[in-house]
């Protein structure tokens, strides 16, 4: 393990092609490009380099104005992904949720129902396992897995690598299943056309108020597992109301990915975006 940055094998993200089993590893996000893992960091700098107030008088320091967004690098790479996708008329959607929302089930069902009309492939983000990717692959769909290790979200560089491995066909649909987490993925633009946040009726209907960044950054909220609504204390209208409090323009759909309720509206939404991807 590297004492400099805490990185180790586990914290590197990997891309796995489920068809070939090929694994591509890269260091975690944010490493300086020259950060080698040879670990000969220079630790013998002068002991009295006095930066604090107590330091000795020294030559004048220089202030360099950067005025640079912290996320500039990610945003630059996201822009490249967006251009790459647009040039191929590919619709990429960033699908986010907390764990247990039924997001993978919704994507499995979507792949099965739509692949006759449009080629569909999936980029599966997960911290550790290949389980969700294997579920998607069982549908016969092309899928690559990005394991983020200790990282709690996908970033634009990871998606870039994932897309290079996936090599989705021109005019296709790419569903990106982000890591199950309603906080961190909201900050990282991947280059997607739109963001979909999935929640289920087994979660609290005040979730949009607890995670406003996520719901503010999305174009569509899908409320899943409505077949369970009679058994839980969840009011879809109240949930939609909360979501529109943080994001007045948010579209809302209610579905059951297992029973099929509301899926026509979800597919209509997808078809609307598919139609818009052509010049």
């Amino acid at each position: 393990m590297c004492a400099t940055c805490g990185c180790d094998e586990d914290s590197r993200s990997t891309v796995t092609d489920l068809d070939s089993g090929r694994v591509v590893t890269r260091p975690g996000p944010g490493h300086a490009p020259d950060h080698s893992h040879g670990h000969d960091h220079d630790h013998d700098h002068e002991a009295d380099h006095g930066h604090g107030a107590a330091g000795p008088a020294r030559t004048a320091t220089r202030v360099v104005t950067l005025e640079q967004s912290v996320l500039a690098k990610n945003d630059l790479l996201a822009g490249r992904n967006r251009d790459w996708l647009a040039a191929r008329f590919i619709l990429a959607l960033n699908v986010m949720s907390s764990p247990g929302s039924g997001k993978t089930t919704l994507l499995e069902r979507t792949v099965r129902d739509l692949r006759a009309e449009v080629p569909v492939s999936v980029v599966e983000g997960d911290q550790e396992t290949l389980l969700d990717a294997e579920r998607i692959r069982a549908t016969g769909c092309r899928v690559v897995q990005i394991n983020t290790g200790s990282g709690c979200h996908l970033d634009a560089e990871m998606l870039g690598r994932g897309l290079a491995t996936l090599d989705p066909p021109v005019g296709s649909l790419v569903l990106i299943e982000n890591v199950g987490n309603l906080v961190c993925p909201a900050l990282f633009d991947l280059g997607e056309r739109a963001r979909v946040v999935v929640m289920s009726v087994t979660e609290g209907d005040d979730k949009p108020l607890k995670y406003p960044h996520m719901f503010r950054s999305a174009q569509l909220m899908v409320i899943n597992k409505v077949d369970l609504a009679p058994h839980v204390d969840f009011d879809p209208d109240r949930c939609a109301g909360h979501a529109r409090t943080v994001n007045p323009g948010l579209e809302v759909l209610s579905v059951s990915a297992t029973r099929g309720d509301g899926l026509d509206a979800w597919y209509a939404w997808l078809r609307g975006h598919l139609a818009a991807r052509r010049p």
Binding site: G28, E67, S69, L71, H153, L187
Partner: protein, 109 residues
């Protein structure tokens, strides 16, 4: 915790711009609506800078309050929490400040 990725990104951005120059202080602007917790960034900063030219650097965080223009009552309002809601009851707001996540400046030796 995305603050770790955010802080790593700060260190990488500074090194990209300044190479191996010894950095004495970094000034970050973190808006209250940015989704980033300043205290978590402070916690991560020492960890992420160890063994880099930023090691030992002072971290100054400029806190930017949330602000918005309300189309309902046509006035500028301060947003005290993450939910954009005007005291007049309207949610039809243009957020004007508080979403900053910016490296303002660095002080180098």
């Amino acid at each position: 915790m995305h603050e770790l990725a955010i802080t790593e990104s700060v260190v990488a951005s500074v090194r990209d711009r300044l190479g191996d120059a010894r950095v004495l202080a970094v000034t970050l602007e973190i808006g209250r609506l940015s989704g980033v917790v300043a205290d978590s960034v402070r916690f991560c900063f020492d960890l992420c800078t160890e063994g880099t030219p930023l090691q030992g650097a002072r971290l100054d965080i400029v806190d930017v309050p949330g602000g918005a223009y309300c189309r309902g009552c046509r006035s500028d309002v301060e947003l005290v929490d993450l939910i954009p809601l005007c005291p007049c009851g309207s949610a039809d707001l243009d957020i004007t400040s508080g979403q900053e996540l910016m490296i303002r400046q660095v002080e180098v030796a």
